[in-house]
C-alpha cells in the first residue's frame, strides 16, 4: 500500500457535506444560509475557533494513535475504547491526587493497557486486532456505564458521572477570547502528531515497523524484534487515545460521564484515512471533522429547526462513510514488478 495523500477523499467529503446541506433545504433552510452558519459557527470568530479546537484536540490525539498503528500494519479500531478508559482513569487520578499531571499520566497508561491487550493477542495468538479492539470498545463503554453509577459515582450519588475534578486538577488554559480558551491538550496533540511522524520517518524502529507491516519476515531477518516493537507501538497508540480522553476530562468536561467519546474514536479513524495516514495532514483532517461538529452545534442553536440536533450526527456519519469509501477505493495495492 502506498500512503500518499489523495484528493478524492477530500472532494468526496466536501460533496457529502454539500448533499447534507441540500437535505436541510428540505426543512426550509436555504443552503447558503446553512453553509454560512456552519462555517461561521466553526471558525467565524475566536469563540468559534476555540470550540472547534477543543473538539479537534482529542480527535487529533486519537487520529495520531490510529495513523501510527495503521502505518505499522496494526488495524487499531479501538481508539474509542482507549479514549473511554483514559478518561475514566484521569477522572479518578485527578480527584485522588488533586493535580492534572497524574490525571494525564493515568489516562495515557490506561489507554496503553487497553491497547496492549489486543496487541498481545495479535502477536502471541494471532487474534485479528480489528475484532479485538472493536469488542474492547463495547467493553470500555459498559465499564464506564457501570463505574459512573457504581464505584466511581460522584459523592451525592445523584448523577451518573464521576466526581467533578478539583480546580487544581484542571488542565492549564490559554485564554483566546472572553469565553473561549484552549487547554494544554492542543499543544500535546500537535506534539504527538509531530513525534509520531518523526518516529516513523526518522528512526530505525519506525522504519522497520513500516517494513514489517508488509514483509514481517524481512524485518525479522534484519535482526529486529518485530513482535515486541508491535506491542510497544500499539500501546503508544492506545496511550495517545487515552491521553485524548484524559485531556477532555481534565480540560473540558471536568468529570467523566456517558457523554465521553460518543463516536469520536471512530471519527478519528476516518480523519486518519482522510489524511492518507500522513502525519502532516492529520491536523487539517481532524480540524475538518471538528469544524463539522462545532458548526452544526452553532447551526442548531441559531435556527432551532426540529431535528437539527440529529443533523449534526447525520452529517458526521455521512462524511465518515464517504471518506471510508473514497479512501478504500483509492488505496493502492503494490503494483506487480
Amino acid at each position: 500500500m502506498s500512503f500518499q495523500i489523495r484528493w478524492r477523499p477530500w472532494v468526496v467529503a466536501a460533496g457529502a457535506i454539500a448533499l447534507a446541506l441540500l437535505l436541510l433545504a428540505l426543512q426550509g433552510l436555504p443552503p447558503l444560509r446553512a453553509a454560512q452558519l456552519l462555517i461561521g459557527g466553526a471558525m467565524g470568530d475566536r469563540d468559534a475557533w476555540s470550540t472547534t479546537a477543543r473538539v479537534a484536540t482529542p480527535l487529533l490525539l486519537c487520529a495520531a494513535g490510529v495513523a501510527l498503528a495503521f502505518r505499522c500494519g496494526l488495524w487499531n479500531i479501538g481508539a474509542e475504547g482507549q479514549l473511554l478508559v483514559g478518561g475514566l482513569a484521569a477522572a479518578w487520578a485527578g480527584s485522588a491526587s488533586g493535580h492534572w499531571l497524574p490525571a494525564l499520566l493515568a489516562g495515557a497508561l490506561a489507554g496503553a493497557i487497553w491497547a496492549a491487550v489486543p496487541a498481545l493477542l495479535r502477536v502471541r495468538r494471532g487474534v485479528p486486532e480489528v475484532l479485538s479492539t472493536l469488542m474492547l470498545n463495547s467493553i470500555a463503554l459498559e465499564l464506564l456505564r457501570w463505574l459512573v453509577t457504581g464505584p466511581l459515582q460522584e459523592p451525592t450519588h445523584q448523577f451518573p458521572q464521576t466526581a467533578t475534578l478539583p480546580t487544581t486538577a484542571w488542565l492549564p488554559e490559554f485564554t483566546l477570547s472572553r469565553t473561549g480558551a484552549l487547554h494544554l491538550g492542543l499543544p500535546l496533540a500537535l506534539l504527538a502528531t509531530a513525534g509520531g511522524g518523526l518516529f516513523l520517518a526518522r528512526t530505525r524502529a519506525g522504519l522497520l515497523l513500516r517494513a514489517g507491516a508488509e514483509a514481517p519476515l524481512l524485518a525479522k531477518a534484519c535482526a529486529f524484534p518485530l513482535d515486541r516493537a508491535r506491542v510497544v507501538v500499539f500501546s503508544v497508540a492506545g496511550a495517545l487515545a487515552g491521553l485524548a480522553g484524559a485531556s477532555d476530562v481534565a480540560g473540558v468536561a471536568r468529570a467523566a460521564d456517558r457523554s465521553l467519546a460518543q463516536g469520536l474514536g471512530y471519527a478519528a479513524v476516518a480523519a486518519a484515512l482522510l489524511a492518507g495516514l500522513r502525519f502532516a495532514w492529520l491536523a487539517p483532517a481532524a480540524l475538518l471533522f471538528a469544524a463539522l461538529q462545532s458548526g452544526t452545534a452553532a447551526l442548531q442553536w441559531a435556527e432551532n429547526l426540529p431535528g437539527v440536533d440529529r443533523f449534526g450526527l447525520l452529517l458526521q456519519g455521512v462524511a465518515i462513510v464517504a471518506v471510508l469509501v473514497a479512501a478504500g477505493g483509492t488505496r493502492r495495492v503494490g503494483t506487480p514488478p
Partner: protein, 480 residues
C-alpha cells in the same frame, strides 16, 4: 499425421522488452499426456494462458484440430472444451462438494435436490467417491484436487491442462492422481501436465516438451528421451561457457552448522559451511530450498534438529522477493537502509539515510527516477538489485542466497557473481541455493543436489549434476 487436439504453432510473446516465448511449437494430441517442463519464468504459464484465452500470441497461432483458431476470451476456451486445473484450488471451502460443482457451470436452478443429483452423476462419471453433501473444507488435499478435476472435466471435453498438480499432494495421492489421468487419457482426452518435477513427467507422459527461457529446448516422445536429456534441456546446453575459476576451498572457521535440521519440506540435514567456501545447493524449484534457507537465516524456527550460525554481519537474499526481500511501499533508499549492517543509526535525517543508501544504489546500478521512489515502482530486475545492494554491501561473514540473479540481465548477473566471489575470497561463508546450473558451477566450492528436501553431494561438473539429478528422478519415478 493426425491433427493435434490443440497445437501452438510458432507462437511468440513479449511483455514490454522481455521476450517470454519465442517460436514455440507444442502439440497436445488426443489420448496423450504431454508433460510441459520448465523452471519458473520459462514461459509455461504464458503458454497455458494462451490456451485459456487470457493472453493472445504476438506471432504464431493456436490450432484446434489443425485449424487456426484464435482464442480471444476465456468463454471461447470454454466453448472449445479446454479446461484447467489450477495449482491453487479454486474451490469454496465453506460450500459443499455439490455446490462447488454447481458453481462451475452456469446454474439454471438452485434447487438443492436437483443439483445434488447432477453432482452425484458427475462424480460417478469422474470415478470419484465422495459425498456430494460433504463440506469441501473437510476433505483431504488429494480429494480436493480430484474434485477440481471433476469440475474441470465439465468443461474439458477436448483438452485438460493441469498446473503443478502434484505440488501439494502426498506420494500416495499423486499415484492416485496419475491413475486417474491415465484413465482420462485412454478415453481420448488430450492432457497437458505442466510441472517442474522431472520424475512426474518421466512417469506418466507419452510426450515431453522442455521450455527454457521461452524457447523449446527439447521435444519428443517419452520413449525417445531419457532423464539425462531432459535434465540437460532444463538446465541449459552442455556447450555453455566454462565457468570461471572456482573459489579456493575454505580453511576458515565453521560459520554455519546444521545437525539433523528438519522442517516440513526438508531434512534431516547435516551440513557445515566454513568461512572462505561456497556451498551450493542445486536442483529444480520446490525441493525445500526456500524453507531450508529461511530456517538457517533464523526467520522461521526449525521444528527439529539444530542450526548454529556464527555471530556477526549476515546477508539473506531470499528467493521470494515480495515476501521478505522488499517492503514495496517503502522508498528505495529506505529499503536499502533496513539492514543493520548497512545503516546502524537509531535515528537519522533524510540526508543521512540518503548518504548511506546512495553509494550502494550506485554500486549496484539500481536505475530509478529517485531514491525516494517506492520500491513497488521498480522493475523486477531493479528490485532484485535493491535487495542485493542492502544485503551484500555490509561485508557479511555469512551469506545465504536463493536464486540471487533471477530476473537480472547478463551484466548484472556477472556483477553479482563477482560480489559473491569477492565475499567468499575474503573469508565469508556462502550458502547458495540456485536452480541455475551455470550459476551453481560458476560459484561452488562444494556442490549438493537438493532433491525432495534431501542433500546429495556431487562433484562440481555439469555431467555429474545432470547424472545425479536424472538418477534421482528416475528412482523416484519408479518407487512412487
Amino acid at each position: 499425421m493426425t491433427n493435434a487436439a490443440l497445437a501452438f504453432v510458432g507462437v511468440g510473446k513479449r511483455f514490454g522488452t522481455r521476450t517470454v516465448l519465442e517460436q514455440v511449437d507444442v502439440e497436445l494430441r488426443a489420448g496423450e499426456i504431454h508433460a510441459l517442463l520448465g523452471e519458473n519464468g520459462a514461459g509455461k504459464t504464458t503458454l497455458v494462458r494462451m490456451a485459456l484465452g487470457l493472453v493472445s500470441p504476438d506471432v504464431g497461432e493456436v490450432q484446434i484440430d489443425g485449424v487456426a483458431t484464435p482464442i480471444p476470451t476465456p468463454a471461447v476456451a470454454r466453448a472449445l472444451g479446454i479446461g484447467m486445473v489450477h495449482q491453487h484450488f479454486a474451490l469454496a471451502e465453506g460450500l459443499t462438494v455439490a455446490e462447488n460443482l454447481r458453481l462451475a457451470d452456469a446454474p439454471r436452478t438452485w434447487r438443492r435436490r436437483s443439483f445434488e443429483a447432477t453432482a452425484r452423476a458427475k462424480l460417478q462419471s469422474a470415478g470419484l467417491e465422495v459425498d456430494p453433501a460433504a463440506r469441501v473444507g473437510d476433505l483431504p488435499v488429494g480429494m480436493r484436487q480430484r474434485l477440481e478435476i471433476a469440475k474441470a472435466l465439465a468443461q474439458a471435453r477436448r483438452v485438460l491442462l493441469l498446473d503443478e498438480p502434484t505440488a501439494l499432494l502426498t506420494p500416495g495421492e499423486a499415484t492416485r492422481l496419475f491413475v486417474e489421468l491415465e484413465e482420462l487419457r485412454s478415453r481420448g482426452l488430450a492432457i497437458a501436465l505442466i510441472t517442474h518435477r522431472l520424475e512426474d513427467a518421466l512417469r506418466v507422459a507419452q510426450r515431453i516438451t522442455v521450455l527454457r527461457q521461452g524457447r523449446v529446448t527439447l521435444a519428443g516422445a517419452r520413449a525417445s528421451v531419457d532423464a539425462a536429456d531432459v535434465t540437460r534441456a532444463l538446465f541449459g546446453g552442455a556447450a555453455a561457457a566454462v565457468p570461471d575459476a572456482v573459489p579456493s576451498s575454505g580453511a576458515g572457521p565453521v560459520r554455519i552448522t546444521c545437525r539433523g535440521l528438519a522442517g516440513e519440506r526438508f531434512g534431516p540435514i547435516d551440513l557445515e559451511v566454513r568461512g572462505g567456501e561456497a556451498v551450493v545447493l542445486t536442483g529444480v524449484d520446490g525441493q525445500g530450498q526456500a524453507e531450508l534457507l529461511e530456517t538457517i537465516a533464523g526467520v522461521v524456527r526449525a521444528p527439529r534438529g539444530r542450526c548454529e550460525v556464527a555471530a556477526g554481519p549476515r546477508a539473506f537474499v531470499s528467493g521470494d522477493r515480495r515476501r521478505h526481500g522488499l517492503a514495496l511501499s517503502l522508498s528505495i533508499a529506505e529499503n536499502v537502509a533496513l539492514a543493520p549492517a548497512t545503516f546502524a543509526r537509531q535515528w537519522f535525517t533524510r540526508s543521512q539515510l540518503l548518504e548511506a543508501a546512495a553509494p550502494r544504489l550506485a554500486r549496484f546500478d539500481v536505475r530509478a527516477e529517485s531514491p525516494w521512489q517506492p520500491a513497488a515502482e521498480l522493475s523486477g530486475g531493479n528490485q532484485q538489485k535493491v535487495v542485493l545492494a542492502r544485503e551484500l554491501a555490509g561485508a557479511p561473514q555469512v551469506l545465504l542466497a536463493e536464486n540471487p540473479t533471477r530476473g537480472l540481465d547478463l551484466q548484472a548477473t556477472a556483477f553479482v557473481h563477482a560480489q559473491l566471489r569477492t565475499a567468499v575470497e575474503s573469508g565469508a561463508a556462502l550458502l547458495l541455493a540456485t536452480t541455475d546450473l551455470d550459476e551453481a558451477l560458476a560459484l561452488a566450492t562444494r556442490l549438493f543436489v537438493l532433491f525432495r528436501g534431501e542433500l546429495h553431494e556431487c562433484a562440481v561438473s555439469r555431467d555429474a549434476v545432470a547424472e545425479r539429478l536424472a538418477s534421482l528422478a528416475a528412482a523416484a519415478a519408479q518407487t512412487a
